[in-house]
């Protein structure tokens, strides 16, 4: 582990400081668009943190993680549409629905391995996508506008953009802390053991299926929270938010940032979404630039951005 003055810890401190101070900069005359962009980055970073728990630490290559974004989002959207706008109902329902979905998908897909696991999680997520797209009452393909953000008691006001930004940031930091605690606990070591060598884990007495399923449900629930946030952020939910390419984006964030690292998903989300923003400002064929960049990271920096920062210190 590197000391406090390593390149990696400086990068972490700088990034966190920048995120904390961003609204101040905006208030002082910076572009308001930055606040919107970074709220979105923070929420998707939270989703990536949850994916990292199963993908990075658990070795479970889920290709359907965006489904929880949709489920969490639609829980908020549908309840708002039906006149239930209190967050004290919306958010628990968002989390519970995501947890339930994860339990069902996980119970079935964790019986398979490798490519089959990837395909079955993808298939379930696409199924959820088509079900949501078929909900004519809630806008179907066109999506559903949310006219009123989740209501909490004063002083919590999600329609205040700065306040909402800080709530998202706090939830992100809280989730990262939660995941950090989990992966270093007995449960976390059991999960990492199962990633490393599942057969051996069972041979020494771990019923790995139960642990993996629990991990899968925790990750899904956490991503459902990101879904509830993103619905409030865009004031709109649509099936597109759970399309399989969105699941792919989340995987890219985790791999780019560094799998099985606490700050990796945050690095990955910031890097991917900022690059997307900058490159799409330069050319409309920005993906031609982004693609090879990602390829380079995957080929030459196995530990992602987090791993690179660690190496700078040692080199």
């Amino acid at each position: 582990m590197s000391g406090w003055l390593s390149v990696r810890s400086i990068a972490i401190v700088a990034l966190v400081l920048a995120l904390v101070l961003l609204p101040v900069y905006v208030e002082l005359g910076g572009s308001r668009f930055l606040l919107t962009l970074f709220t979105r980055i923070i929420i998707l970073a939270l989703a990536a943190v949850s994916l990292n728990l199963i993908l990075g630490y658990g070795g479970m290559m889920s290709f359907g993680h965006a489904a929880y974004l949709g489920i969490g989002g639609y829980a908020v959207g549908i309840l708002a549409h039906e006149g239930v706008s209190t967050g004290f109902v919306q958010w628990p329902v968002a989390l519970a629905a995501s947890a339930l979905f994860a339990l069902v998908i996980g119970a079935l897909s964790l019986r398979t391995r490798g490519v089959y696991f990837i395909m079955i999680t993808l298939a379930f997520a696409q199924m959820a996508y088509y079900i949501v797209a078929g909900l004519a009452r809630y806008g179907g393909d066109d999506g559903l506008t949310i006219y009123k953000r989740s209501q909490f008691v004063a002083p919590i006001d999600l329609s205040n953009k700065v306040e909402f930004y800080y709530i998202c940031l706090a939830l992100l930091v809280g989730s990262m802390y939660l995941v950090w605690r989990i992966v270093n606990s007995r449960f976390g070591l059991a999960i990492q053991g199962a990633r490393s060598n599942d057969t051996r884990m069972r041979a020494i007495g771990f019923p790995t299926y139960r642990y993996k399923l629990t991990c899968f449900v925790i990750a899904g629930t956490l991503c459902g929270l990101a879904g509830a946030l993103i619905a409030n952020h865009t004031d709109f939910v649509s099936p597109a938010m759970m399309y399989w390419t969105r699941s792919g984006d989340l995987i890219i964030m985790v791999v780019l940032g560094g799998m099985a690292s606490t700050f990796g998903p945050l690095f990955g989300a910031v890097a991917l979404l900022v690059l997307e923003e900058v490159l799409s400002g330069i050319t409309e064929y920005w993906q031609i630039i982004l693609g090879p960049l990602l390829l380079l990271v995957v080929l030459f920096a196995r530990g992602g951005i987090d791993g690179l920062l660690g190496k700078v210190h040692h080199g």
């Binding site: 270093n184 007995r186 990492q192 053991g193």
Partner: protein
């Protein structure tokens, strides 16, 4: 002494190949019982069935008096039947100490503890360090398991089996691929362990087998052709023909 492990009429076929043929085996508590036989005699298949990795086609397995034929791997392990692998099967991306600590954790109740830092729990780390010390790996504790030598992997395997605080060890070729010096260290470690544990040892290294075993069972084509004390096995004509003679011919 009562039999700790009892195998009755065990049979396993893979298509047309008979891997285990009506096999009977009794191992009393405290014995080091070696199972030898030429390649393809079904030794690893036997261990796989004893540990629960493979289900037999017929026959029964009793451990400490109870029928474990239908028990899954983790349940057998919990009863005190620990297995080491022929092909080194470790958690290569975790540290040496983490590997053993996981084995301890497997027997320290369920692992639905989400908050406390498991790498700081003395209850897990102390027995793990003790097991590493017994096989002479203390100095390697904090290295990733992928960074130590093949011989050290075998010792780590053993430390993990020991950390489960088993009543009986199933050792699948613990000397495989070891140099002479590493082999003799492994023999010395096993000699210490047999004082307190029942051991079933599958091994190709005849020198080690005859140095360690209380009794030896010889398998050929999945069936037992002889079973008895080392001196009886050494002088058994059938065994010499089927197995030892073959080796002597090779050495000659």
């Amino acid at each position: 002494m009562a039999d700790l492990l009892r195998v009755e009429n065990l049979a396993k076929r893979f298509g047309g190949i008979v891997a285990t043929d009506d096999l009977i085996l009794n191992i009393p508590e405290g014995e080091l019982h070696a199972v030898i036989g030429p390649n393809g005699a079904g030794k690893t298949t036997l261990i796989a069935q004893l540990s629960g990795q493979l289900a037999p086609d017929s026959g029964r397995i009793y451990f400490a008096g109870s029928d474990i034929t239908a028990e899954p791997m983790h349940a057998r392990s919990a009863l005190g039947l620990a297995r080491s692998f022929q092909i080194t099967s470790l958690f290569l991306d975790l540290s040496v100490l983490d590997n053993v600590a996981l084995a301890v954790q497997a027997h320290a109740g369920h692992s639905f503890h989400f908050w406390r830092n498991a790498r700081q729990e003395a209850e897990l780390r102390d027995p793990a360090r003790a097991a590493l010390a017994r096989v002479g790996l203390s100095a390697r504790a904090d290295l990733p398991a992928s960074a130590i030598s093949h011989g050290e992997h075998r010792q780590l395997e053993l430390a993990m089996a020991l950390a489960c605080r088993p009543r009986m060890l199933l050792l699948d070729e613990p000397m495989a691929g070891l140099g002479p010096e590493e082999s003799s260290r492994m023999v010395a470690t096993l000699r210490e362990l047999k004082k307190e544990l029942t051991i079933l040892l599958v091994e190709h290294d005849m020198e080690a087998v005859f140095a360690l075993a209380d009794r030896i069972t010889v398998l050929v084509y999945g069936g037992v052709i002889a079973s008895g004390k080392p001196e009886d096995i050494r002088s058994n004509a059938q065994v010499r023909e089927a197995y030892l003679g073959e080796q002597e011919a090779v050495h000659a």
